[in-house]
């Protein structure tokens, strides 16, 4: 038991050590600004075929950083994750096609506007819907937290339509293409760019009620960053670089180029795999890292908590029950967001998404592991412990030599099951911007809009690694049963 406590202490210190390390590096002498961007918001933020993030936002912030001699570290994590990370002081700024609004000004300080975008309504290509009046009683697809969504909601009562909200632009478009919704609301440049690139929608209204895009920092933080952004933006507008950047993505020539590339692209399943080998491989590797590290830590954590559940000590039983209750009871998604967004808000310390992901999985999967570990131990006949103790063996020795070897045999199928669940659960961590397999899929789709095919590829990849993991576990099980 003492050895196990030492392990637990080691685990804790590793986690806290990592936390501290993250904090100290971010306070290094020459400040590097961490800037969050969206990942699925072409033409402002998206991943190019070469796997690098590109778009108006990306080019603009890079040019401004160069102009102002700033060091920046771009974190393409998605709009929601980026905004929340800035609120939680996890990041310094966000540039993500973010419209300046009154509500947002209460949480953020904005730069001067760098782009004006009106809202448009888009419908399926053959649709009869021509204006807002045709929406009555119908369903409309929106993207969470966007200006388009706000605009649609402001006219919802007047025109009497229903709303479904999505996290990803592509999901919103597809909802209209498949006919679940009749229309989507989106910023004009984004919609126009998407249609150029093959989305089967058409724009039916004039840009209206638009807003200005601004670069944002947390209210009261990083004022010098805002000043530099404004100065840089001014300079770029003056020397013509700003216009060049916008034209690169929205100009006439860009349309032709985009159409040409879209046609050239091999959108067969195999073609998609070949184009995205790098991204898919990277996502797969990240998923495997997350899985392996989480399985190891969750097993250690779970076995310790599980043992605490059965030892004859009231405080340990209580602590164990409470931990299992909390971490098994909380949805993984909520736990991930709480640890990544909430904990830094409480402690003031940054924490990397990867570390937050590992902690999330360790706590959640560990709680499940603890439950079946204690169950497995309890399933061993009482007489075994009595016989061992009546020989004079102390509790710990009886546990280690007699009870655990029998209990572990009972637990093995549950362990294998839990490993597979852990692997699948890593996909939920895409919500905090970890570039694992699922997130990789979302990003590829944001660029090429081949949702069905890309999800097929991703699904096959999961099945393959789950099969391998199952074989491996069964092989271990057979060896242990010998």
């Amino acid at each position: 038991m003492r050895k196990k406590l030492i392990w637990f202490a080691l685990l804790c210190s590793t986690v806290f050590g990592a936390l501290l390390a993250t904090t100290t590096t971010s306070h290094a002498a020459e400040k590097t600004y961490t800037i969050g961007t969206d990942i699925t918001y072409a033409p402002f933020d998206f991943q190019g075929t070469d796997g690098k993030y590109t778009g108006i936002d990306i080019d603009l912030i890079k040019a401004i950083a160069k102009e102002e001699n700033m060091k920046i570290d771009l974190k393409p994590v998605g709009f929601n994750a980026a905004v929340q990370a800035v609120e939680a002081n996890q990041m310094d700024g966000v540039i993500a096609g973010m419209t300046i609004t009154k509500e947002r000004k209460q949480q953020f300080d904005f730069s001067d506007p760098y782009y004006y975008a009106g809202e448009v309504m888009a419908v399926a290509k053959g649709s009869k819907v021509k204006s807002f009046k045709d929406l009555r009683g119908k369903n409309v697809a929106l993207k969470v937290g966007t200006q388009g969504a706000a605009y649609a909601k402001s006219i919802q009562k007047k025109y009497g339509f229903k709303i479904t909200e999505f996290d990803q632009s592509n999901d919103m478009y597809n909802d209209v293409v498949t006919g679940n919704s009749v229309a989507a609301f989106e910023d004009y440049p984004v919609m126009a760019y998407g249609i150029q690139n093959g989305i089967k929608l058409k724009i039916v209204t004039k840009p209206a009620k638009g807003g200005n895009y601004g670069f944002a920092v947390k209210k009261g933080e990083n004022p010098e960053l805002l000043t530099k952004f404004n100065a840089g933006l001014k300079a770029l507008k003056k020397n013509g670089q700003y216009d060049k950047i916008v034209a690169k993505y929205l100009g006439k020539s860009s349309v032709a180029k985009a159409t040409a590339t879209a046609k050239k692209q091999d959108n067969s399943l195999w073609g998609l795999v070949k184009q995205n080998t790098g991204a898919l491989g990277g996502g797969l590797l990240q998923t495997l890292y997350l899985t392996v590290i989480s399985i190891i830590l969750a097993t250690i954590f779970g076995v310790i908590i599980g043992l605490m559940q059965v030892v004859p000590a009231k405080w340990a039983n209580w602590l164990s029950s409470t931990l299992i209750y909390i971490f098994r009871g909380m949805p993984l998604l909520v736990l991930a967001l709480f640890i990544y967004i909430g904990v830094p808000n409480l402690t003031g310390n940054k924490i990397s998404a990867f570390l937050a992901g590992i902690i999330t999985l360790t706590l959640n999967e560990g709680a499940y592991t603890a439950a079946f570990v204690s169950g497995g131990i309890r399933a061993v006949d009482n007489g075994q412990m009595e016989a061992a103790r009546s020989l004079g063996l102390p509790y710990g020795k009886a546990m280690r030599r007699v009870i655990l070897p029998q209990g572990i045999k009972i637990m093995i199928p549950s362990f294998i099951n839990q490993f597979i669940i852990t692997l699948k659960d890593t996909s939920i961590l895409s919500v905090i911007g970890i570039l694992e397999l699922t997130q990789t899929g979302k990003i590829i789709i944001a660029r090429n809009l081949q949702g069905f095919k890309v999800w097929t590829i991703i699904a096959i990849m999961y099945i393959v690694i789950i099969t391998l993991l199952t074989w491996l576990s069964k092989a271990v099980e057979r060896r242990m049963n010998k």
Binding site: A388, S390, G392, L393, V402, P405, Q406
Partner: protein, 250 residues
């Protein structure tokens, strides 16, 4: 080794055991001398097994005093692991460790408690298995043994720590009838060697033949005790008479 001056191995005084509001043992007094074989008989639910389990603290006495081998085990400061090394216990359902071989079952305690190095422990364990007639099963796992064989291994295992006292909790109740004889033979042999034994049993023949004293329990009380001749042939207490009439005529 640690026997009290007056040669008493076990001294139980006013032992009470409650499960919640249910009083199972209602103030028992019993003394067992060195080399004595005591058989405890009585109807099911009379508290015999609970009494036995109080002697090595598998059950915590509610009140009263239990002194075994000179150790006061009702005192929470007493190191029970130490005391238990001197008390062998044999269970109704054998409780062999299924994850260990027969030999490892017998060797486990001596090695884990550093009473002997591996070579000596192995030699002793084999000798004990020979003693109970199972030398050839040393490398088998318990699952491949018959009930009677399992129980004899359990006895060997309990003897491995060289106990001063052996407790038997209905050792033959879970056995097929044809297996009972082998186990009882081992126990008789032990008794002849002078082992102090307390045996909870329904085997009246064994009690008559081997016991120095028979204790009859009912409803959490010791109703009557005496040498086997006297208790079986001339029971005094009406409950004893009633019980014996039922079991002996069955």
């Amino acid at each position: 080794m640690n026997a009290a001056e007056n040669n008493n191995r076990v001294v139980v005084t006013d032992l009470v055991k409650n499960y919640g509001s249910n009083e199972v043992l209602k103030g028992l007094n019993l003394t067992v001398k060195n080399n004595e074989v005591v058989c405890m008989i009585g109807p099911s639910g009379s508290g015999k097994s609970t009494f036995l389990r109080c002697l090595n603290k598998l059950e915590d006495p509610t009140s009263g005093s239990v002194i075994v081998d000179g150790y006061d085990i009702s005192d929470n400061k007493t190191n029970m692991n130490k005391v238990r090394e001197g008390i062998g216990m044999v269970f109704q359902h054998f409780n062999l460790f299924p994850n260990l071989t027969v030999l490892e079952n017998v060797m486990l305690a001596p090695i884990e408690l550093k009473k002997a190095d591996k070579e000596v422990a192995t030699k002793e364990a084999r000798a004990l298995l020979d003693e109970v007639g199972l030398a050839e099963k040393a490398d088998a796992y318990p699952a491949s043994l018959s009930g009677g064989q399992e129980q004899r291994v359990a006895i060997a295992r309990a003897l491995a720590m060289h106990p001063d006292i052996m407790l038997f909790d209905e050792p033959t109740s879970a056995l097929d009838p044809e297996m009972v004889g082998d186990v009882l033979d081992v126990m008789k042999k032990l008794a002849k060697q002078g082992m102090t034994m307390i045996v909870v049993t329904h085997e009246m023949g064994f009690a008559k033949e081997v016991a120095d004293r028979v204790v009859f329990m009912a409803d959490g009380h010791i109703m009557e005790e005496g040498d086997p001749q006297q208790l079986f042939d001339h029971p005094q207490n009406p409950r004893t008479q009633d019980f014996l009439r039922k079991v002996l005529n069955a």
